[in-house]
């Protein structure tokens, strides 16, 4: 009986096994320290790119572009979340994906950076550095969105071009606190999921 239930309820939920994240810019695969042409003249380069992804049961993984093994997610749920729920932000579980050593922990104002982008915009030979620490779990500035993964989908593709074009690099090159500006970048990030 138990095996029967497993076949009907657990297996479909697991889909076709655990997910893998694929990062793209246009048609090219994304890599750190690589210039991507944006609009014919400007190009963008990232030195750090990290974000939290999880499921609705409170399991999280930090996807870090400097370590592609983190692209393989340890869960296979049909609904994932990006960002982090308020409980995970505040529970004080400081190990695994929540280890402050991963460079995503705000120690003085308890909480986690949900999305970190550090890089440069190259514009007419000039380099404009930028740094975005995007997070927030308190209303109205939460950066936490569920993402529905279509059935039979194993690879989760992110089209980063959509995120890059939305970055306010020339007007706001540094955003380090929760707020409307951070939320706007996070919204652009959530549209990158294909």
């Amino acid at each position: 009986m138990l095996r029967f239930l497993f076949l009907f309820f657990v297996l479909p939920n697991l889909g076709f096994g655990q997910h893998t994240v694929k990062l793209k810019v246009g048609l090219a695969p994304f890599q750190l320290q690589t210039n991507y042409l944006m609009n014919g003249t400007d190009s963008i380069r990232l030195d750090q790119f990290k974000f939290y992804i999880g499921n609705q049961r409170g399991d999280y993984q930090l996807v870090d572009a400097s370590d592609t093994t983190t692209y393989n997610l340890p869960f296979a749920d049909k609904v994932l979340v990006i960002g982090m729920d308020s409980l995970a932000n505040t529970s004080g579980k400081l190990e695994g994906a929540f280890d402050p050593l991963l460079g995503m922990y705000w120690a003085w104002n308890t909480g986690y950076i949900h999305l970190k982008l550090v890089g440069c915009l190259v514009q007419k030979g000039r380099q404009l550095p930028f740094e975005y620490h995007i997070g927030g779990y308190k209303a109205p500035f939460e950066t936490f969105v569920p993402i529905k993964i279509p059935a039979r989908t194993k690879n989760i593709t992110l089209q980063l071009e959509r995120l890059f074009t939305a970055l306010p690099i020339t007007t706001k090159p540094n955003i380090m606190l929760p707020g409307a500006a951070a939320q706007q970048i996070f919204r652009a990030f959530s549209t990158a999921f294909e």
């Binding site: 505040t90 004080g92 400081l94 280890d99 402050p100 050593l101 104002n109 308890t110 606190l177």
Partner: protein, 337 residues
């Protein structure tokens, strides 16, 4: 007669031993609220406590191995930083806030003068990594600890892990700091009906209940709220306090209501340590004409006006909150090897 005296002393010694666990481990005093600390996540053991104690007193945690937690949190002053208005760290760099006393932390819903930190274990990252305090990185501390065979063995015994991780370091420190319970002052013994206030202390207690208890609520002697008490912003640092955490203009210059336990010993006073004597503090609260904006509404309504005799009575009550057993508890002292 001598025998009776001896028996009395012996009994008294036995009773005080029963009240205070000899190993210094956390206990919940009678009639106190349920602690908020997550003990399930970090079960206390004598070994964990003594590891946390060793770390608390070890300058290995700072960048140049000169400053320990105890440099700014001294036991005899209720783990506050006496004689420094704001605390200083490595290379004599000066911070902008007064290191608060450490006691009864298991009941704290938030930490720091601005309440930005929500967990005792995670709190330690702040002084460890702040450039004006210990100036280290987590990577740096863990590397030093993992190279130290003595610490490696102790961590293995407590957490069963070969490699010391962030959570092990923070949980070990938490085992010590959460155990710093102060609940054996004269006030406590009066509440337990084991002793009585003097007439002056009793008058002070009545004044306290009428004028102070709303914010400095027993048994923890703080309601953990954030208030502006009329001392005005600090001109040197312009520290906006609670607003730094909430981003709300209404929270500008609000700071946590501190506990009054061991207040006699934890000078200087206020978030920036601008007052060095309790008398000054009482004079400030007693004279609403001297208050600078902002002032929280609850305090404004009180319009405290205490004359000098009343201030003296109040002071004598506040001294009944001193807990010598806590201040001189050997289990909390620098661990001699």
């Amino acid at each position: 007669m001598k025998t009776w005296g001896f028996l009395f002393v012996a009994c008294f010694g036995l009773i005080s031993l029963m009240i205070l666990p000899e190993d210094g481990l956390f206990y919940r005093p009678e009639k106190w609220p349920k602690p908020l600390y997550n003990f399930e996540d970090n079960p206390l053991t004598p070994e964990g406590f003594s590891l946390g104690r060793a770390l608390f007193y070890d300058p290995i945690l700072s960048e140049d191995s000169t400053v320990s937690c105890a440099s700014c949190h001294l036991q005899y002053t209720a783990f506050a930083h006496v004689d420094h208005s704001t605390s200083h760290g490595i290379n004599s760099r000066v911070g902008k806030r007064n290191a608060p006393g450490l006691m009864n932390l298991a009941w704290y819903p938030t930490f720091h003068w601005d309440g930005g930190v929500l967990n005792l274990n995670g709190q330690a990252i702040n002084p460890l990594t702040h450039p004006d305090e210990m100036g280290e990185t987590l990577e740096g501390v863990l590397k030093k600890l993992n190279r130290n065979s003595d610490y490696k063995a102790k961590f293995k015994k407590v957490f069963g892990a070969e490699h010391i991780k962030t959570s092990h370091l923070l949980k070990a420190l938490g085992q010590f700091t959460v155990s710093l319970v102060s609940a054996n002052s004269k006030y406590d013994s009066v509440m337990r009906k084991e002793s009585t206030f003097t007439a002056q202390e009793q008058r002070g207690y009545t004044l306290f209940r009428n004028h102070c208890n709303q914010c400095h609520t027993a048994p923890l002697f703080t309601n953990f709220e954030f208030k502006a008490n009329g001392i005005g912003p600090n001109n040197q640092f312009n520290d906006s306090g609670r607003a730094l955490i909430t981003g709300k203009a209404a929270d500008a210059y609000l700071f946590r209501v501190p506990t009054l336990r061991n207040i006699e010993y934890s000078f200087p006073y206020m978030h920036d340590g601008r007052m060095s004597k309790l008398k000054e503090v009482l004079a400030h609260y007693s004279n609403s004409l001297s208050w600078q904006k902002p002032v929280s509404s609850g305090l404004l309504q009180k319009k405290n006006t205490l004359n000098l005799n009343e201030q003296k009575d109040l002071l004598s009550f506040l001294k009944t909150l001193s807990d010598k057993q806590f201040l001189f508890n050997e289990a909390f002292r620098f661990p001699r090897k």
